[in-house]
C-alpha cells in the first residue's frame, strides 16, 4: 500500500514521509470504508467550536466504567444544526455531552486530522430509548436501595417559611416564585435564600448537587428546599433523571419541593421529591396554601372557640337553672307534702277524738242500760219472794189452826169415849157404895146399900150375898 516514491533512509532502511503514510492510510480508508455506518456510542465530549460552528465530539464506549473504545468524531456545522434540531425535537434534550447516541458516520482518515468519524445523521429514538432506560435504571436502583420514598415521607413543617431555593437568579421561574410569595395578600412572610445552580443540561447535576450539599450542612436553618426552574424551554431535563441527583434529593434531610416546569414526563427527581409542583408559581401557591391552611386552622379554632365557650356557658347555665328551678319545685312540694301530713294528722286527731268520745259514750250507755234493767228485775224477784212468804204464811197458819182443831176433835172424841155417860147409854151401869165406886178398899158387904146409876135413872139396891172370884 505504501507508495513507491518513498525515499530510502540511512543504513538502507526505507523511510516514508508522514504524508506518504497518511496518504496511504487515507487511500485505504476511502477504499474500505466508502459507505457510512450506523454506530452507537457515548457522546463523551461535544467540543463545539462556536466560531467555526463545527463540532469535534469525543465518542467512547465503556464497559464497567472503563473505556473500551474511543474515537474522535466530527460534525460539520451544517450537519450539526440539522442533527441538533432533529435530536432535540425527538428527545427534548439538547444535543449535549454525556448521552448515548446512534449516528450515521463515515469512518474518515485525513492526513491533517487523522482518524475520525464524520457524523452525518443521527437516530434520536435510540437516545430516547437510552434516556428512558437510564431513567428506569435510576428508579429501580433507588427503589432497590429503599430510598425512593424517603423524601416523600418527610413531614413538611406546617409553615414552610425558611426556604432554600435552588434556582437561577435570572430565571423566570425564580422570579415567578418570588413575586408570588412576596405579593401574597395576607402578608405572609417567607425567608428565602437563593442557591444559584445550573438547572438544565450539562453541569446541572453537579451544580445542583453541590448546592444541596451546602444546604444539607445548614439544614437546621431551613424548613424545605425548593428546586425551581422555569421560563425557558423544556429541553435538557434528562439531568433530573440522573441517579446521583435523584439519590441526593431522595435522601435529603429536608423536604424537597420541585417546580421545574414542564408538561411532559415526570422526572425521577420530581418523583422522589417530597412535593412536586409543575411550575414555580404552583410551588409559591402551594407554600402560601400551607400558610393559608395554618391560618385557616387558627381561624377555625378561633371561630369554634366562641361558640364552644358559649355552649359550655349555656350548658352550665341551663344545668344550674334547671337545678334552681327544680329546687324551687322540690321545696314547694316538700312543704306541701308536709302541710298535707300535718293537716291529715289534724283530721285524724279530730276523727280519732270523736271516735274516742263516741266509744266512751257507748261504754257509758252500756253501763247505763245495765243499770236500768236490773233493779226492776231484782225488785221483781224480791216481790215474788215476798209474795211466796206471804202465801206460805197463810197456808201454814191456816194449817196450824186447822190441825189444832183436828187434834182437839180427836181428844174430844177420846174423852167422849171414856165418858161414863156414854157407857151408860150402851146399857152399862155404875154401882156406887156409899157414894163411891166399888173398888178394893170399898167393897160392899152384904147388906150394904148400893146405888146403881143407869142411863135411864138411878136405882137403889141391897147387897145380898158376897161371892169370891
Amino acid at each position: 500500500m505504501i507508495s513507491d516514491s518513498a525515499s530510502i533512509g540511512q543504513e538502507g532502511k526505507r523511510v516514508f514521509s508522514l504524508s506518504e503514510i497518511t496518504a496511504s492510510i487515507e487511500r485505504m480508508f476511502s477504499k474500505y470504508y466508502a459507505s457510512p455506518y450506523w454506530i452507537r456510542a457515548e457522546l463523551s465530549k461535544l467540543n463545539h467550536y462556536p466560531q467555526s460552528g463545527h463540532c469535534y465530539p469525543d465518542l467512547v464506549e465503556r464497559q464497567e466504567g472503563k473505556i473500551k473504545a474511543q474515537l474522535r468524531g466530527v460534525i460539520w456545522r451544517d450537519e450539526l444544526f440539522e442533527i441538533a434540531r432533529k435530536f432535540e425535537e425527538v428527545t427534548r434534550e439538547p444535543f449535549r455531552e454525556g448521552i448515548s447516541i446512534m449516528f450515521l458516520a463515515y469512518v474518515k482518515f485525513t492526513s491533517e486530522y487523522g482518524l475520525s468519524l464524520q457524523i452525518i445523521d443521527i437516530e434520536p429514538l435510540y437516545t430516547l430509548g437510552e434516556l428512558a432506560r437510564e431513567k428506569m435504571e435510576t428508579i429501580s436502583r433507588l427503589k432497590k436501595e429503599g430510598i425512593f420514598n424517603s423524601n416523600r415521607l418527610l413531614e413538611l413543617p406546617l409553615l414552610p417559611k425558611r426556604l432554600a431555593v435552588i434556582s437561577a437568579q435570572t430565571s423566570k421561574g425564580y422570579s415567578d416564585l418570588m413575586i408570588t410569595l412576596e405579593n401574597n395578600p395576607w402578608g405572609y412572610r417567607f425567608n428565602t435564600r437563593l442557591f444559584h445552580a445550573l438547572l438544565q443540561g450539562d453541569g446541572a447535576v453537579d451544580s445542583i448537587r453541590k448546592q444541596l450539599g451546602i444546604i444539607r450542612d445548614n439544614q437546621e436553618q431551613f424548613d424545605a428546599v425548593l428546586i425551581i426552574r422555569g421560563g425557558g424551554d423544556e429541553i435538557g431535563m434528562a439531568c433530573y433523571d440522573n441517579y446521583l441527583l435523584a439519590r441526593d434529593v431522595a435522601c435529603f434531610p429536608l423536604p424537597v419541593i420541585t417546580g421545574i416546569g414542564h408538561s411532559t414526563n415526570e422526572t425521577v427527581v420530581e418523583m422522589v421529591a417530597g412535593i412536586n409542583k409543575i411550575t414555580p408559581t404552583d410551588v409559591a401557591h402551594f407554600l402560601i396554601g400551607c400558610f393559608r391552611s395554618f391560618s385557616d386552622r387558627i381561624k377555625a379554632a378561633e371561630q369554634m372557640l366562641l361558640p364552644g365557650v358559649m355552649v359550655v356557658l349555656e350548658t352550665n347555665a341551663a344545668r344550674f337553672n334547671t337545678l334552681s328551678g327544680s329546687l324551687l319545685n322540690l321545696v314547694k312540694n316538700t312543704l306541701r307534702e308536709e302541710s298535707d301530713l300535718v293537716e291529715q294528722q289534724a283530721l285524724v286527731v279530730r276523727e280519732a277524738t270523736n271516735v274516742a268520745v263516741f266509744n266512751h259514750r257507748i261504754a257509758l250507755s252500756r253501763y247505763e242500760s245495765g243499770l236500768t234493767m236490773r233493779p226492776a228485775q231484782i225488785l221483781g224477784s224480791h216481790r215474788a219472794t215476798l209474795l211466796e212468804q206471804q202465801k206460805m204464811l197463810g197456808l201454814t197458819t191456816r194449817y196450824l189452826v186447822s190441825n189444832q182443831l183436828k187434834e182437839i176433835g180427836t181428844v174430844d172424841s177420846r174423852v167422849k169415849l171414856l165418858d161414863p155417860v156414854g157407857v151408860l147409854k150402851r146399857g152399862f151401869t155404875i154401882t156406887r157404895l156409899k157414894g163411891r165406886g166399888i173398888a178394893p178398899g170399898n167393897l160392899p158387904d152384904p147388906g150394904d146399900l148400893l146405888e146403881t146409876e143407869s142411863a135411864s135413872g138411878k136405882f137403889i139396891s141391897v147387897v145380898s150375898e158376897k161371892k169370891s172370884i
Binding site: G394, L405, D412, R414, V415, L418, G435, G437
Partner: protein
Amino acid sequence: MSKSITYTQAIAELETIVSEIENASIGVDELSEKVKRAAELIRFCRNKLTSTEKEVNSILKSIEDENDE
C-alpha cells in the same frame, strides 16, 4: 176456868187428863170429874182456836187485800 190459862196449858192439862182416863187407874167418880174438866178444856181450846182463826184470817185477808191493791 181461870182466864189466865193458856191454850198450851189447856192442851197440856187435857192431854194429862186423857192419859189418866185411858190408864183406867181412875175411878168412876174421878172419871166423871175428869171428863167434865176435859170437856171444859176442849171447849176452851176450841174457842181459842176459833178466835185465833178469825183473827189470823182477818190479818191475812187484810194483807192479801193490800196485795191486790
